[in-house]
Amino acid sequence: MTSTLKGVTLKGSAELVADFFSFGINSILYQRGIYPPETFTKASHYDMSLHITTDAKLKNYLTNVVSQLKEWLFECTVQKLVLVITCLETNEVLERWQFDIECDKSAKESSAPREKSLKTIQDEIRSVIRQITATVTFLPLLETPCAFDLLVYTDKDLVVPEKWEESGPQIIDQSEEVRLRSFTTSIHKVDSMVAYKRTNSV
């Protein structure tokens, strides 16, 4: 990791945020039961125990997305990352985990590292992941087979890479929204939120 106690550089910040997404997405997929629990293994990160997939195909997919994301974070051209959970029986979007990313573009000009300790940032990230874990208590149960997709909101002028394509925003029809905690590396600020389909049973 390029970020040391001295502060955070743009490159280090992009890596920190990309790592957060990698662990965050794994946690959501485990918590929401999108993949069977036995396909996950425990790993220690941010001073906490996290579930990481062992499914080779899924791993490969996540690596592809996150490494591309890291590039975009470094270029400050990414605005949002969204994890969309779709019901396979009805093709309905049931859940949207949205991470709004604010990039301080001035970091592209001046390479001076920002004064924020890695520990403080990791503490903030840990609270966000804890909150993601805690949301299971109020999110509606996913009773049908579901699959997920990762959407990236980028600046309009960004050239779409070869293996990527434009997509719709996959908005939920009639949703409830909950804002979660934020964290910032002082270069990238990440706001987390989850929207889920309102159930009529209540």
């Binding site: 997919y61 969204v82 997709d149 990762l150 959407l151 949703s175 929204e177």
Partner: protein, 315 residues
Amino acid sequence: MDLEDDTTIFKTLKSLNTFISRPEHPQRPSEQLGIGNLQSHYKRSFEILEATERVHSQHRYLQLDQEKQQMELSHKRARFELEKAASDSARDLEVQKNFSVYMQKIEDLEKERQRLEEQNNILEMRLERHNLQGDYDPVKTQVVHLKLNPTTEAKQQRQKEVEDVREELNRLRELVRSFQEGGMVAQDDSRIHTSGLNLRKQMESSELRNQRLKEVFQKKIQEFRTVCYVLTGYQIDITTENQYRLTSAYAEHMQDSLLFKKIYGPGSNGSMQLMETEFSKTLGEMVNLHLHHQKSIPAFLSAVTLDLFSRQTVF
């Protein structure tokens, strides 16, 4: 006129004064003169009274006149002030009119501002909600995803499953139709089909069992050979059918081995015979003693073991 009045008052006062001071002296003569004087006395007092009355009214008149003048003056002053005030207030009125217009305007603007603020709040809340739901400005933002993603794959997989199921359904429909048309033939057909399936299943499971057993045997055999080698000091290999090669743990050369052959025939039911090898040629004495005389292969093998072992530990 004032001066004239003043002189009249003075004159009157003077005459009154002289009149009053006069009878002091003739009081005594009046007593002396008697009733004849009383009449003139009365007349005089009447005159005095009349004069006093005159002075009083004169004075009263003067007072009233003065008051009148004062009143006229204050009236004049009041009128002047009133006129001045009137012109002032006319100017004030204009200012005041403008002022109230401005006040009204400020009030209206304040109301408008409040309305806009509320509207702005509502719009911001809506915008926030839209953002939370994932909406975006297509002028500034585009949404992209990997072409090959889990949802697309899962949907394709499901599509394939649906097609497979549909195909199976069509096949079964066909089968039912032929059954209804052909009766027994179709029934036999399907029975053969199912029994064939069952047999294949059985075969598969027995194959699997076989495989498992093989694995277990392999393990056990290896274990057995190791134990034999450790306990007896000989490694036993099967070279060809009914031939066994023994290699001592203490052999000086790799190729130093003993070859035994199993003999079948009358009187020699499964007995072993030593075959000649380069190594066995060097063991003439032991072969003679243990095999030819004592007829004991274990004794022979033990002797060989001891011999090789002693050779190893000589130095």
